[in-house]
């Protein structure tokens, strides 16, 4: 039976899926490790909260996405300047600065947050339908990008940026494209979040959110769309199923990450690829 619990759970999972798909584009496809994805998520949520009163829902989603990707473009341009090692920490810094600034701004509600975000007017099932449709759209978009020449270029940049350049690929433009598209998706996820909780507080977009999204991408297997989808669903739902072991939940979550990295650093996708290669010895190289 599908009750309100399942429906709201699907919404939570969907939001995480949107975030993970967007980050997979940046980190998975294009190799740019970002520890600040929650900042774009938050930008979308705040933008949506501010405009939701005056605009129809599709426009709100669009505005949220655009605000997030404007910040994404800015961060992308900035991170072109820093060397690869520094990128993860620079993006982490962006996350902290975002929260640190938002929590002091009166017009963003400061610590008390923004409240009275209007109802989406779709009803519970309609809202979940919207969530699923957005997830499907984003999955399709990233799937298309992966098989397009843009995805081919991303793979080259992720693999060896300097060599990609010598083959005429404008690595900077590709990285920016990844940032812009990935953060747009995060912004849309932010709008969905705002409609879902109907109030937002700075604490909801902190470092731990960025970490958990990155964990989904990496446990799924960087770059693998289905792997990331499965990981996002599992990692979001496992704590739900394990409420009985409340106290050990986060410990097990941490252990799962450690064990995955230690024994299957390619994530779920890597495990499946390895199993496939063993099952069909002729199939692999």
């Amino acid at each position: 039976m599908i009750g309100a619990y399942e429906i709201t759970l699907v919404a939570v999972v969907s939001i995480n899926l949107m975030l993970a798909l967007g980050l997979n584009l940046i980190t998975g496809f294009c190799g740019q490790v970002s520890l600040g994805h929650a900042a774009f998520f938050g930008t979308g949520a705040y933008a949506a909260a501010l405009v939701a009163g005056g605009l129809p829902l599709p426009a709100v989603l669009l505005v949220a996405g655009l605000f997030a990707c404007a910040l994404g473009l800015l961060v992308g341009v900035a991170s072109l300047r820093v060397r690869e090692d520094f990128l993860a920490i620079t993006t982490m810094g962006v996350g902290f600065v975002f929260v640190g600034v938002v929590r002091k701004q009166g017009f963003l509600g400061a610590e008390m947050g923004l409240t009275d975000i209007p109802d989406h007017g779709l009803g519970d099932l309609g809202f979940v339908g919207l969530c699923l449709a957005l997830v499907a759209l984003m999955a399709l978009l990233t799937w298309h990008i992966k098989r397009s020449w843009m995805g081919f270029g991303f793979a080259a940049v992720a693999d060896d940026e300097r060599t990609a350049r010598t083959l005429g690929i404008n690595a900077a433009a590709y990285k920016l494209a990844a940032f812009v598209i990935g953060t747009f998706l995060a912004g849309v996820a932010g709008a969905v979040y705002a409609y879902f909780t109907r109030f937002i507080i700075p604490g909801a977009f902190g470092f731990t959110v960025s970490i958990s999204i990155l964990t989904m991408v990496i446990v799924g297997g960087v770059g693998s769309i289905w792997g990331v989808v499965v990981a996002a669903v599992l990692l979001t739902l496992l704590p739900e199923f394990s409420r009985v072991i409340n106290d050990y939940k986060l410990l097990l979550y941490g252990a799962l990450i450690v064990l995955t990295m230690r024994f299957a650093p390619g994530g779920l996708a890597g495990v499946v690829a390895a199993v496939k290669a063993r099952v069909r010895p002729g199939g692999g190289p």
Binding site: H144, I145, R147, S148, W149, M150, F152, G153, A155, A156, A158, D159, D160, R162, T163, A164, R165, T166, L167, G168, I169, N170, A171, A172, A173, Y174, A177, P285
Partner: protein, 264 residues
């Protein structure tokens, strides 16, 4: 008529070390230039300056008369420069065929919007297979680079560079590490390509090989150009011999002798 490629008074410093100390030369269309010199002479740095991986402290690089010194590597690649790496750098996450296919699709990858809207790789795959066949590694097309022997990887470098249809091919020791049969075959391939109209600069240690295929040589020693001319003339040059033989055989400028020692 301006030269196809010109390097003017290029100075490169890394920290306190001068890697290139004011090197100039130019290259006409269709030439096959050998770039030689002892280890540490600055040959690779020179090619990297030409392709834009290294930005010179001073001096200019011109392609077809246009100053490209401030252009990015990828922009220069689009102007027709291609580089093969001395230490092979295949994309390790892609098959051999995809390595070359990607390069063959340079017209699509150049524009982001076009890249986003193009999916088909058929034409580029066909072109890539041709190139793999041309350099003689068609059999490895579906393999991962990790399983290829060095000789095949060197050829992959060449095939991939050729795939972007360059006007000037910058080859950084493509023959190093190959056995003599492989080296002879690849050298012949390169000579054929040159004959078909591709301009080349070839860094090579094996003087005999260079002498065999390059009509003209530029010699670097300790970041300076010490000779530039026809192969026969250069190989007879006392300074070149001194640079290769170590301590001065001809009583030239002592600072230079010292430098060549350091570079050795």
């Amino acid at each position: 008529m301006s030269a196809l490629l010109a390097v003017e008074d290029v100075l490169v410093r890394f920290g306190g070390v001068t890697a290139l100390a004011g090197v100039s030369f130019s290259l006409g269309k269709g030439e096959l230039l050998g770039l030689i010199g002892p280890n540490g002479a600055g040959k690779t740095t020179l090619l990297h300056t030409v392709i834009g991986v290294v930005t010179p402290t001073k001096g200019r690089v011109l392609v077809g008369g246009r100053d490209v010194t401030r252009l990015s590597t990828d922009a220069r690649a689009r102007l027709g420069l291609a580089l093969t790496h001395q230490i092979v750098r295949p994309f390790r996450g892609m098959s051999v065929l995809d390595n070359v296919t990607l390069a063959a699709g340079f017209a699509k990858t150049t524009h982001l919007l076009r890249a986003l809207t193009s999916v088909s790789r058929t034409a580029e795959r066909a072109r890539a297979r041709e190139l793999l066949a041309l350099v003689g590694i068609a059999d490895y097309a579906d393999a991962a680079p990790a399983v290829l022997p060095l000789g095949a990887l060197k050829r992959l470098e060449v095939a991939r560079a050729l795939a972007i249809s360059p006007e000037v091919l910058l080859l950084d020791e493509p023959l190093a590490g190959l056995n003599s049969v492989e080296a002879t075959r690849l050298a012949a391939t390169l000579a054929d390509l040159n004959a078909s109209g591709i301009t080349m600069i070839l860094i090579e240690h094996n003087l005999a090989k260079v002498a065999e295929i390059c009509p003209r040589l530029v010699v670097l020693d300790n970041g300076r150009k010490i000779a530039d001319g026809s192969t026969a003339a250069v190989l007879a040059d006392a300074a070149v011999i001194a640079a290769y033989m170590g301590k001065d055989a001809s009583g030239r400028d002592p600072s230079h002798a010292e430098a060549s020692h350091a570079a050795g």
